[in-house]
Symmetry: C2
Subunit: 150 residues, 2 copies
DNA sequence: GATTCAGTTGCAAACGAGTCGCAACTATAG
DNA sequence: CTATAGTTGCGACTCGTTTGCAACTGAATC
C-alpha cells in the first residue's frame, strides 16, 4: 500500500534549507528515510532505517528530529488505534488530509480521502470559530475481507 | 464545560449487571467516578478520585477496569492531541459520537456534534466496505478567544 | 582555508504510562 | 456454608520517550 507520492523526494530537505534549519549528516539520513518511506513508520523503525544510511544516528536524535518536523508541520503523528502497542507512527504531511482506518482483526491500515471530511473541517472552522492547525481522524473496525469472518 | 448528561448516573453499573460482570467495591468506586465526571479524566486522576470513595483502589485495578470498559465499548479513549503529555483520557460513550477540539494556546477542550461527521462515517462504511467499531476525530488549533492573540 | 560559536550530537541515566505474575482475597452460584 | 472462578494489591517490570551534559560540527565570517 504505497503512500501517494504527490511531493518529490527531497522536499523535506528543501523545507529545512528554506527555513534556515541546520542540516546535519544525521538529519539528512532521517529525512531521506521519511521521504522514501512507503508505509507508516514508528520511531524504532525509523531509527533502524536511518542507521543503515548513517550508522552514527542515535535514538535521541531521531526523537529530536521528529519533534522538529512536527513543530514545523511537516509530518503527522498517528496512533493507528494502538493496534500494535502504545507508540506513535509518522508520515509526511501531504497536500490533502486523509482518514486512517485500522482493521481490528488483520491489522491492515487503510487510507481514505474524502470531500466530506474537508466539508466537516470547514463546518468546525465556521460554526466553532476554531482555526484548525492539525486534525486526525482514525477509525477502528473490520475491513471488507475480515467483515465476514468473526 | 460539563459533558452532556444524556444517560443517568448508575448506567455503567447497570451495564455490568446485565452482562453478568462481577461487581466489586473497587469497581463500584471507579464506575461512580466515571459516571459523575464532568470532564475528561486520565488514569491518574481517575485513581485519585476513586481512592476518595474507596482508599483500597490500586493503580493496576484502575487500568484493568479501563480495559474492561473499553472492551465492552462503554468508554472512549482520547489523546486530546497530547496537549498534556503522552497519556490517555477517558469518557463515557454516549449516544452520539463527537469531535474533540483542543486549543494549542489555552489548552481548552471543546466538543462538537455534527451530522456531517455521521455522513462521513456512512461514506467510509459504504465506499470502503469497512465496518466501523470505534472512531476518533481530534483537532488541534486555536479557539475563538485565542485566534486573535499570537 | 582558518576561526568562531550557537546549534547539534551520542551517551547514559531518568522518566511516566501502562502491564504482569503471583499469592491472598471475595463475589457469587449451588 | 462451601467451593471456586474471578478479582485484587503489590512490586517489579517493560516500553516509548525525554533529558542533562560534555564533546562535536555546520555554516557564517573573516
Amino acid at each position: 500500500m504505497p503512500l501517494p507520492q504527490t511531493e518529490m523526494p527531497g522536499r523535506l530537505q528543501a523545507h529545512f534549507a528554506e527555513r534556515g534549519i541546520r542540516m546535519t549528516q544525521q538529519r539528512r539520513a532521517i529525512l531521506r528515510v521519511m521521504e522514501t518511506a512507503t508505509k507508516h513508520l514508528d520511531a524504532a523503525q525509523l531509527l533502524r532505517k536511518a542507521q543503515k544510511l548513517d550508522a552514527s544516528v542515535d535514538r535521541s536524535t531521531v526523537y529530536r528530529t521528529l519533534q522538529l518536523l512536527k513543530r514545523h508541520g511537516l509530518i503527522d503523528e498517528l496512533d493507528l488505534m494502538h493496534i500494535h502497542g502504545e507508540g506513535h507512527y509518522y508520515e509526511r504531511k501531504l497536500n490533502r488530509d486523509h482518514i486512517h482506518m485500522a482493521c481490528l482483526r488483520c491489522g491492515k491500515i487503510m487510507e481514505f480521502v474524502s470531500d466530506i471530511f474537508e466539508k466537516l473541517k470547514g463546518q468546525v472552522e465556521k460554526d466553532c470559530r476554531f482555526r484548525i492547525v492539525v486534525s486526525r481522524l482514525e477509525i477502528g473496525g473490520y475491513c471488507a475481507g475480515c467483515r465476514g469472518a468473526k
